[in-house]
Symmetry: C2
Subunit: 217 residues, 2 copies
């Protein structure tokens, strides 16, 4: 935390995992300070000695809050949910909570890790786009089907949940990797409804302290 007691979010404007946490912080009205970690510049600032000491996985987001340091976006969101429960991001019904966590894990464990920067580096420049598109398509094929039985206005019912915090940044990645979204009408319409909400707008990659001028909106 800062001297004034504000939480500190180590974040990269384009990181979809950071965006998930930024939405949670915005929805819950938690004031925080951003420390940008540029994953590209200087060979990747996440590899600096200082940052590695903070997060040995060399990844964003990392949140300093209440005297502790938490890594992993879903672990951060679950902590915020327990300590700052309003508005809630997990439904009251345990069966619906299971759906929310299932969708969140599908994205956070089944799609995003396969198309993140460090994996794409290993895959090599020539194969990157195909690899990323494949990972997203496989995941979205499943997700579209699952959402047909869980969704209301949003991913699970009619309240914004942790699943929605995972969906929107993943759709942004899909667009960045030029995935055809036509086969995913449910995903697309939920995404559209979420993007107009204030918390999704202020946390958007095009409106962060570290967003390069040419990408600002």
């Amino acid at each position: 935390m800062t001297e004034s007691g504000k939480p500190i979010l180590y974040s990269y404007f384009r990181s979809s995992c950071s965006w998930r946490v930024r939405i949670a912080l915005a929805l819950k009205g938690i004031d925080y300070e951003t420390v940008p970690i540029n994953l590209i510049k200087d060979g990747g600032q996440q590899f600096s000695k200082d940052f590695q000491a903070l997060n040995p996985m060399k990844q964003v987001p990392t949140l300093k809050i209440d005297g502790i340091t938490i890594h992993q976006s879903l672990a951060i969101i679950e902590y915020l949910e327990e300590m700052r429960p309003t508005p809630r991001l997990l439904p009251q019904d345990p069966k619906k909570r299971a759906s929310v966590r299932m969708i969140s894990d599908l994205i956070a464990g089944g799609i995003q890790p396969l198309q993140n920067l460090s994996v794409l580096k290993q895959v090599g420049e020539e194969m990157q786009l195909t690899w990323a598109q494949n990972a997203i398509t496989c995941g979205f094929n499943a997700l579209e089907q699952i959402l047909q039985s869980t969704a209301g206005i949003y991913c699970v019912g009619d309240e914004v949940t942790m699943a929605d915090l995972c969906l929107v940044p993943q759709v942004a990645n899909a667009e960045r990797f030029k995935v055809d979204l036509t086969p995913y009408p449910t995903i697309s319409s939920i995404n559209k409804r979420l993007l107009v909400l204030e918390a999704f707008q202020v946390s958007h990659p095009c409106r962060q302290p570290d967003t390069p001028t040419e990408l600002r909106a």
Copy 2:
């Protein structure tokens, strides 16, 4: 659920994600039936029409319980924790809960997805071993450091938690991929202490209904 009301676990003996759930079921004393899904045989039984209808991600584990179907191992474990809270797999202290979820997500989102069967198939036979070793080594380097500040007898303090349910199956994968565990004394000693517990033994890949005879112990 079966007609008798028992939960059904769709599982593969060697799947590390299935093993996580088997440990949870064993610890909580939940009687269940196993439906084996062989990820190799018949070109992969997870690709059958019937199984895809059940789990569009074409992955194990999947649990049918209380009239619902849950995919994703951590979502399943969180549901079990809410509905069958004894013995607890998440500490009472929210800060320790955050550590448990952070370690669980590090393994379930940061290591396992990069070395699972479908990714290794894409990487190609020649590169598989190096790729898997690299994913596990990167993750374990971070995990070893994190555990030094969270561990007691087990991953977080002295009680078995969800983090331990992720650790043991991941160490088994590391051994299968011939990762040198010498640089990870904390991981290794926690793993050793957990492996002797009954719930970890009955759920072990070498003791499942679908374990091939030559691998049984």
